[in-house]
């Protein structure tokens, strides 16, 4: 494998509008692909796991680079790079789980290049933005020649690198509803070194009233074919007074619910063992934050 060069030959376009990009994907046939930062796609092309005949860059389309708060939700354009989201998160602390995730996503160079849309379109089970976006009940907006649609992120991931997005659909933005007051969030990943892909990751958003968990959402990465919304624990914790032993039970429930595999990064056994512990740590962090602490 020669990763020094890109062997494949392809055409390249960098349209300035969504209309042009959609026309180009229609004209260039089934092997045409969109490209944003290229940190996933160019690696895959070097490793020859994909061979697009045409690349259509989305980085010159201004609509895809919005990053702003609107009434009731935050809009993040699909082509927004991680470093912009990181800078936003240090000003606006509404989404600490997302902020935690971006802080440990890749390294400086990857955060300057990679985009949130690229992360969700590659749809790795270990995609670090996914658990945080899932616990905040995010939606993704897609556009194609057939029109625009909005999907709950929870309905978007279908399998390993499989999503509900059609090949000719552009992801335009991610919308994250503003969390209710008294919601705290956190995310943590376990990896060999910080800049590495996760062995396992966990995000929690919890609404707290004193010592009672009013409601919570939990999602995990790299424990199933898709970034996984945990179903059992939120119901179990709802309206309960939070104690250490309650969280141990919740952690055990999570180890039972997840379906991890053994791969180059970790073993299924380790992932099952550590999932409950990781959940407890992340829950504690989110819980403290819901109490108004840093």
């Amino acid at each position: 494998m020669n990763t020094r060069i890109l062997k494949a030959e392809f055409d390249y376009f960098a349209p300035a509008s969504i209309g042009e990009a959609l026309a180009l994907i229609a004209q260039n046939g089934p092997t045409a692909r969109f490209i944003a930062g290229g940190t996933d796609l160019l690696v895959q092309m070097k490793l020859e796991t994909v061979a697009p005949g045409c690349l259509i860059s989305l980085m010159k389309i201004s609509e895809l680079s919005v990053l702003k708060r609107e009434k009731g939700f935050l809009r993040i354009g699909a082509a927004v790079t991680w470093d912009r989201i990181l800078a936003f998160g240090s000003e606006d602390r509404s989404y600490p789980a997302l902020d935690d995730a971006v802080r440990c996503l890749g390294k400086v160079q990857v955060r300057r290049m990679g985009t949130i849309g690229g992360n969700l379109c590659t749809a790795s089970p270990a995609a670090d933005s996914a658990p945080a976006l899932l616990v905040y009940d995010s939606r993704v907006r897609l556009v194609s020649a057939r029109g625009r649609r909005t999907l709950l992120l929870d309905k978007y991931f279908l399998g390993v690198q499989q999503t509900a997005r059609a090949a000719d659909e552009i992801m335009t933005e991610i919308r994250i509803p503003a969390p209710r007051p008294d919601v705290g969030g956190a995310f943590q990943k376990l990896a060999r070194v910080g800049a590495d892909i996760s062995k396992i990751s966990c995000a929690v958003a919890v609404e707290r009233k004193g010592r009672v968990c009013v409601s919570c959402r939990v999602a995990m990465g790299a424990v199933a074919p898709v970034p996984l919304m945990i179903r059992g624990v939120p119901e179990f914790l709802q309206e309960k007074t939070v104690t250490a032993s309650l969280l141990v039970t919740a952690g055990r429930m999570i180890s039972d619910e997840i379906r991890p595999i053994t791969d180059v990064r970790s073993t299924a056994e380790y992932r099952k063992q550590v999932a409950g512990v990781l959940f407890r740590d992340v829950f504690q962090k989110a819980w403290t934050r819901a109490g108004g602490e840093p």
Binding site: T3, L6, E9, Y12, T39, L55, Q109, G184, V193
Partner: protein
């Protein structure tokens, strides 16, 4: 494959090049322009040795299509020294602190440091460590590299007051 004209300003000099879409920025810099400072290490983004500044931001030139940075301003390690040959303060600091051993990571390490110092004249040690996390040194001279970058920040004058990060988390 059709060649397209790509305009790159590298270290202040503008070049008009006829390039195929699959030409990678790293190879254009090294093979077309003779700037061999940026290195090929892994080719997949793991090692960071190909780091250059594109419009002031440190990126991986081995994962950057040259056509995608048409019109950009690019700085490689060769562009840091002044026209009279004197070195940039960060280069001086690497020499002063013995932050260079085999030298293979040095151009990328210096550029990675520059990306930080351009935005933050007085980085803390944790900020420096986070910044260089993705630029690997196999002689493991990290301690002296961190010291060199730190000294550069210290030398830039008294640290600016930092805003308090005590905002309420939600």
């Amino acid at each position: 494959m059709k060649k397209t004209e790509v305009c790159l300003t590298v270290n202040g000099v503008t070049h008009h090049l006829g390039l195929s879409p699959n030409a990678l920025l790293l190879n254009v810099l090294r093979d077309e322009l003779g700037l061999t400072g940026a290195k090929y290490g892994c080719g997949t983004g793991q090692c960071g040795l190909c780091t250059v500044l594109v419009n002031g931001r440190a990126v991986l030139s081995c994962l950057t299509l040259a056509v995608a940075v048409d019109g950009a301003d690019i700085v490689t390690v060769e562009g840091l020294s002044r026209p009279d040959g004197s070195l940039d303060p960060i280069q001086e600091a690497f020499l002063d602190h013995g932050a260079i051993q085999c030298g293979y990571c040095t151009p990328a390490m210096v550029i990675t440091a520059k990306d930080l110092l351009n935005r933050n004249a007085h980085p803390t040690e944790p900020e420096i460590r986070e910044q260089i996390e993705g630029t690997l040194c196999r002689c493991t001279g990290y301690l002296s590299i961190v010291r060199a970058i730190k000294s550069c920040g210290d030398r830039a004058g008294a640290p600016a007051p930092r805003p308090s990060p005590m905002k309420k988390s939600r």
